[in-house]
Symmetry: none
Subunit: 400 residues, 2 copies
Amino acid sequence: MNLEDIRELVVKNDTKIVLLVIDGLGGLPRPETGRTELEEADTINLDRLAYDGLCGVTVPVALGVTPGSGPGHLALFGYDPLKYRVGRGVLEALGIDFDLRKQDLAARGNFCTVDSQGVITDRRAGRISTETCVALCEALSGITLPGVQVFVQPVREHRFLLVLRGEGLVEGIADTDPQRVGATPLPAQPEKPEAQATAGLINEFVAQARERLADKHPANMLLLRGFSKWPDLPLMGDVSGLNAAAIAVYPMYRGLAKLVGMTVLPTGTTIEDELATAQERWNDFDFFFIHYKTTDSRGEDGDYDAKVAAIEEVDHALAGIRDLAPDVLMVAGDHSTPSLLAGHSWHPVPFVIWSRWCRRDGVEAFDENSCYAGGLGVFPATSVLPLALANAQRLMKYGA
Amino acid sequence: MNLEDIRELVVKNDTKIVLLVIDGLGGLPRPETGRTELEEADTINLDRLAYDGLCGVTVPVALGVTPGSGPGHLALFGYDPLKYRVGRGVLEALGIDFDLRKQDLAARGNFCTVDSQGVITDRRAGRISTETCVALCEALSGITLPGVQVFVQPVREHRFLLVLRGEGLVEGIADTDPQRVGATPLPAQPEKPEAQATAGLINEFVAQARERLADKHPANMLLLRGFSKWPDLPLMGDVSGLNAAAIAVYPMYRGLAKLVGMTVLPTGTTIEDELATAQERWNDFDFFFIHYKTTDSRGEDGDYDAKVAAIEEVDHALAGIRDLAPDVLMVAGDHSTPSLLAGHSWHPVPFVIWSRWCRRDGVEAFDENSCYAGGLGVFPATSVLPLALANAQRLMKYGA
């Protein structure tokens, strides 16, 4: 069901909904034991919620597709990630908490190495240190262009963010990154006539940058991709009638929440801080997106035991969330991050929803195999928001 | 799979298919026992069918969406209810067995109360009695409009049906009901230029009605919504090759069957009457839609025990349906109606299909949790028709 159809059905009431996103939630069994991280972890609170609630596994984008953080979260917020796309430049800006504005054009940048003929010999400039990246970005920040402001912000190692700010900047510029060594960087080409002037500005930026980087080998050139502007997503408040707040430690997730119009609440650096923020602001909002990152980070590290420990940490915090007595409580993941793969994966993600009206199934533990057998089966993550609204009795009947 | 794709695969044979729709089939557990109405009811025949057949739970519209009767039934007949929409005026006409024709424009009406300034003070005119409604409709039936016939038919309490009959009436008129008190009724506005003349006729009707209702406080004005004409649905016979009959006690369900081109068979007022009708006409059709209403009515009443009793009544009738020895027998619901919610709900609906070729699963009882674990899982109700055709060996292979 698309967002416009949902919007037609929405009614408001004073119920409260919590969506706890455990980043990279699903895993894979460790060969020695045949148990996944979730099966191994001691999760009394998650298991109790599964027992009381209705379980299933979500498919964030499509079966077989490994989601990035952007698509994984947008789906949980109700947005079809194949329809609503967020450019890489914008995601990079969100990830470093850059104050991106609607008129800005953002791009993901790489410092790279070129030879004396200008041919790329290393697309990542030997993965220079983040300190070097900071210094190079400072050098490039002095570049001036007619009619626009230039921001060059370090991200990590060879990665940086370029933002042009000004009136009339247009999306639809092809990447300057040819994605292979042995080629020269491409000029910024407009993909439509309206983007001609913007492409000219970018080429002027690149020309000036090339001069300033000429003696900075191995980082003596740069590549740009994912030119994009703030995407015009329907606002979650308009679609769902929810006054939604986001509580997240990492900038990327605060940024994704901002994209859909949630109010981002200042918080600390731990899940306890996030819980305290939810408690303090409990009366001010009717939807709380609470993000827990460590499960994904330890999965990305390939550290099975540390991911188990992270699951146990968030399980402990779940008790505090239940104490807030939301009308609807959901635990979801944006994607799986099995520590055996040390990265995001395509595996459907365990999910549980509890409300007074959820109609519990027979699931008694919160793990991958138990959730497969749940009453929601294998289902698209974009159904999470309508399910939440339904359980909060915030959706009218469709048709007479 | 859409209807056009199904049509390409259809072959005819002499199999017989029965779809028993138990209206409002799914429920919620009563807190005292933790058991749903289906779990509580003594259902030897449904359980036996579940044991012999293949089970699952249907999603009528989308996860989280509570269907009205129209969308719920259209989905079971194979029509995507988000694509094929039936206006409220048309549904109101079907619900009172009004002989709606293709040229007619129908609207749902409310009698309402306005103050001396014409501002709405009660959108339902204090829920006047049905007797009063009948008298008011008679008073309005005398209204004459140029070139069209006017029908004003009572429905119940403050609700009535308006039908204009004549050449050239056009859909696409905005509701006159502002959906709130404190506002004045809106003029009928055309949503496209071709609807201008039709809007003029409606405004003329409203002007005359206002005069006739002026001294009928509290029902001294009316509101109209859901202007709609007979929807141009593909006919079920064309799509599926089935010669389909409908057996239903209530007009709404006979009307929905008529919309898709089923032959509506006269019947009595009980499930036994419906069963007798099926027996009598068994040789004349190859698809029988049999509708049982009481489960929904008792669910809407919020009467758990009465809904349990209704389930037991229809379970008893199921034995008679099996005696007819259809090649394919399905039991479905158009939506859930938990007595705890006293209304339709979004919960997926238990479903079972039996045929010689169904490939039974391990389900041994017909209830919500047992069906969750069935071989069909959680699946769209629009798949019920293709599954029926397949089990009747009425669908060819797709592709070589």
